[in-house]
C-alpha cells in the first residue's frame, strides 16, 4: 500500500497502523468514506442504507478510546459495510426483499456484534440479491464497468470495496456468493470452513450450505476481519468448537513448504480463454514461490450441480415456508420461481443430494492427500451485463446462475475454506479471480498463500477509474 494512496483506498492494515499511531483519526477516515459514498454511490448503488450519523458517532468514540490508551486492535475505528442479510440492531435489514421491507432487528447478528466489539465503525447496509438467492445484487453496478453487474449475492459488498466506499465488508456464501463478487470486482473474499463463523442473525438461504465470511481488498485484511468474526457461538449450533489461530501473525510471506494442487478435471472446463490464461499465469507465480505444483484428479464431481441446486432450492423453500404461502407476490419473479420449484422437490431427491455430499467430501479428501491447497479459477466467466441471463458458449448457452456456481459450489457442498483474490483481467477488461482452497479449518494456509501471491503481484492494488 503506497503512502500516497487516497484514504478511501487504504487497506485496513495500513489505516489501522495510522489510527493506532495517531497519524489518522477514525473520524477523518469515516468522513472521507461517507463523502465518497455521497459522490460516487449514486452511480454504483452499492448501499441500500447509509447510517452516516451513527458512523460518525462510533468513529468519535473510537478516537476518544484510542486517545485514552484503550486501543482495541486493528479494527478499532475502521469503517465497514454490512451485507443487508445480516441483522443490525436498530437498522433496517431488508435482505433486499419486499418481504422484509420494514424489518428492524433489535439485536446484531453475532458477526456484527463481534466486529462492533472489535471497534469497527458500521457505515451502513449494502445490496444483496433478494435473500441471497442469485448471482447479482440489484441495483448495484460493477465499478469496473457500470453496464455490468457486480455478481452476487454479496455484490453490494464487492462493488463498495472496489469503488472505495468501505475498507471491509461482510458477505455470505451458499454457492459462491462471497467468491463470485470477489472475482467479478477484483477484490478479495474468503468463505471459511463450514462451522468456523457464526451465522446467527444472518437470513438463511440454505442451512447446510450457507457460510458467513469477510470481504476486503487484501488477504491481510481478510485475516484481520476473520480474526474478529471466527469462533463457536452457542446461538448457532452449526458452529464448531475449533481453536481459532492468529491469522495475521501467520502471514509470513514464505510459502516454500507448501505444495499447490491444480485440478486436472472439472475446474478448467468451459472457461473463457483469457481467464484461463490469467489464472495459469497466477499458478506459475505460486509454483515458483512454493514447494511446487502437483496436478490432481478430483473424483466425485459429476452431477454435482444437480445436488447443489436440489439442496439449496428445497432448504430455501423450507425457510420461506410461511411467508411464501402468505405473500408469494412480494418475492421477485426469479426468486419466486426458485421457491416454487423448491417446494416441489421430492424428499428422496433432497436426501440423495445430501448423500452425494459424503462422496464429494471423500473426493476432496483423496485429492488433498499430497497437497496443501488447491487452486482453481474463481469463475469461468467475467461479470455479466445487467439483464443478461445466460453466457454464450457457441455450442450452448449457460444460465448465469449455473456459470457462477459451477467452480464455487463444490466447496459449499464439502464445507472447505476457499478464498478468491484478483489475478488479472480478461479480454473484456473485467477482473479475474484466483480461487485458493484449503483443508478443513486451514483458513490460515489459504490466507498465507493468498497473502504470498499479493506480495508477488499488484492486482489487488489496481482500482477502477471512477
Amino acid at each position: 500500500m503506497s503512502e500516497m494512496s487516497p484514504l478511501h483506498y487504504l487497506d485496513i492494515a495500513t489505516a489501522a497502523e495510522r489510527i493506532r499511531s495517531g497519524k489518522l483519526s477514525s473520524v477523518a477516515l469515516t468522513e472521507a468514506i461517507l463523502d465518497r459514498i455521497t459522490a460516487i454511490d449514486p452511480i454504483i448503488r452499492s448501499y441500500v442504507t447509509v447510517t452516516g450519523k451513527d458512523a460518525i458517532q462510533a468513529a468519535e468514540n473510537a478516537d476518544k478510546r484510542i486517545r485514552s490508551g484503550d486501543y482495541l486492535g486493528p479494527l478499532d475505528g475502521i469503517p465497514l459495510a454490512i451485507k443487508d442479510l445480516y441483522d443490525t440492531a436498530g437498522i433496517r435489514t431488508t435482505s433486499c426483499s419486499k418481504v422484509r421491507e420494514n424489518y428492524v432487528p433489535t439485536e446484531d447478528a453475532t458477526s456484527v456484534a463481534k466486529l462492533r466489539a472489535a471497534g469497527a465503525v458500521i457505515l451502513g447496509k449494502v445490496a444483496t440479491h433478494e435473500f441471497a438467492f442469485g448471482f447479482d445484487a440489484p441495483p448495484a453496478r460493477n465499478p469496473w464497468n457500470t453496464d455490468h453487474t457486480p455478481s452476487g449475492s454479496s455484490g453490494g459488498s464487492g462493488a463498495a470495496l472496489a469503488a472505495g466506499l468501505c475498507l471491509g465488508a461482510t458477505g455470505s456464501d451458499t454457492g459462491g456468493s462471497i467468491r463470485a463478487p470477489a472475482a467479478a470486482n477484483g477484490i478479495s473474499g474468503i468463505k471459511p470452513t463450514y462451522g468456523r463463523v457464526s451465522k446467527h442473525g444472518v437470513a438463511v438461504l440454505s442451512w447446510t450450505l450457507d457460510h458467513a465470511g469477510p470481504m476486503a481488498r487484501s488477504a491481510r485484511d481478510l485475516a484481520i476481519l476473520l480474526q474478529a468474526m471466527a469462533g463457536s457461538d452457542p446461538l448457532d449450533p452449526t458452529t464448531l468448537d475449533e481453536n481459532v489461530p492468529d491469522y495475521v501473525s501467520a502471514l509470513a510471506g514464505d510459502i516454500k513448504g507448501i505444495t499447490i494442487g491444480v485440478p486436472r478435471n472439472y475446474f478448467f472446463d468451459m472457461i473463457e480463454p483469457s481467464i484461463e490464461t490469467a489464472v495459469r499465469g497466477a499458478i506459475d507465480e505460486l509454483g515458483k514461490a512454493s514447494s511446487g505444483i502437483t496436478e490432481v484428479d478430483i473424483p466425485g464431481l459429476e452431477y454435482l450441480l444437480e445436488s447443489f441446486f436440489s439442496i439449496v432450492t428445497a432448504e430455501a423453500a423450507t425457510f420461506h415456508f410461511e411467508a411464501f404461502r402468505e405473500t408469494p407476490h412480494l418475492y421477485n419473479d426469479d426468486v419466486r420461481q426458485l421457491l416454487e420449484q423448491g417446494n416441489l422437490t421430492l424428499a428422496t431427491t433432497y436426501i440423495n443430494a445430501q448423500r452425494s455430499r459424503s462422496v464429494v467430501i471423500d473426493g476432496f479428501r483423496q485429492a488433498f492427500q499430497n497437497i496443501d491447497v488447491l487452486v482453481t479459477p474463481g469463475l469461468p466467466v467475467t461479470a455479466p451485463r445487467v439483464g443478461q441471463t445466460a453466457y454464450d458458449w457457441k455450442t450452448s448457452d449457460e444460465p448465469v446462475f449455473r456459470a457462477h456456481a459451477r467452480y464455487n459450489c463444490p466447496f459449499n457442498l464439502a464445507g472447505l475454506p476457499a478464498a478468491t483474490v484478483p489475478c488479472g483481467f480478461a479480454s473484456d477488461c473485467l477482473p479475474v479471480g484466483l480461487q485458493i482452497i484449503g483443508k478443513p479449518f486451514q483458513e490460515v494456509t489459504v490466507l498465507r498463500v493468498a497473502d504470498a501471491f499479493q506480495r508477488l503481484t499488484d492486482w489487488h492494488n489496481v482500482h477502477p477509474r471512477i
Binding site: 470452513t193 463450514y194 462451522g195 447446510t208 452449526t238 464448531l240 459429476e302 452431477y303 454435482l304 450441480l305 444437480e306 445436488s307 441446486f309 436440489s310 411464501f324 404461502r325 408469494p328 419473479d333 419466486r336 420461481q337 416454487e340 420449484q341 417446494n343 416441489l344 422437490t345 421430492l346 431427491t349 436426501i351 440423495n352 443430494a353 445430501q354 448423500r355 452425494s356 455430499r357 459424503s358 462422496v359 467430501i361 471423500d362 479428501r365 464439502a414 464445507g415 472447505l416 483443508k439 478443513p440 479449518f441
Partner: protein, 67 residues
C-alpha cells in the same frame, strides 16, 4: 431416462395444490423440466453408491462426515 419418473406441467399444478402453493402459469413447464433434470442428475450420481452411504447431515467437514 425412466419415463415413469417424469413430472409433467399438468402434474405440477396438482403437486403445487397439495403443497399449498401456486406455481405461476409461466413457470409450470420450466418447473417440471427443472425438477426432472435435477432428480435425474441426482439419481445418476447416487446410482453406484453403496446403501450405507449416509447423508452428510451433520455437516462437520473435518474429513469424517457421512460415509
Amino acid at each position: 431416462m425412466d419415463e415413469r419418473l417424469t413430472i409433467t406441467s399438468d402434474q405440477i399444478v396438482v403437486l403445487a395444490a397439495a403443497a399449498g402453493i401456486e406455481v405461476q402459469p409461466h413457470n409450470q413447464s420450466g418447473c417440471a423440466e427443472t425438477l426432472n433434470s435435477l432428480r435425474n442428475g441426482v439419481c445418476a450420481k447416487i446410482k453406484r453408491f453403496a446403501p450405507h452411504v449416509a447423508p452428510a447431515v451433520r455437516m462437520d467437514p473435518r474429513w469424517r462426515t457421512g460415509s
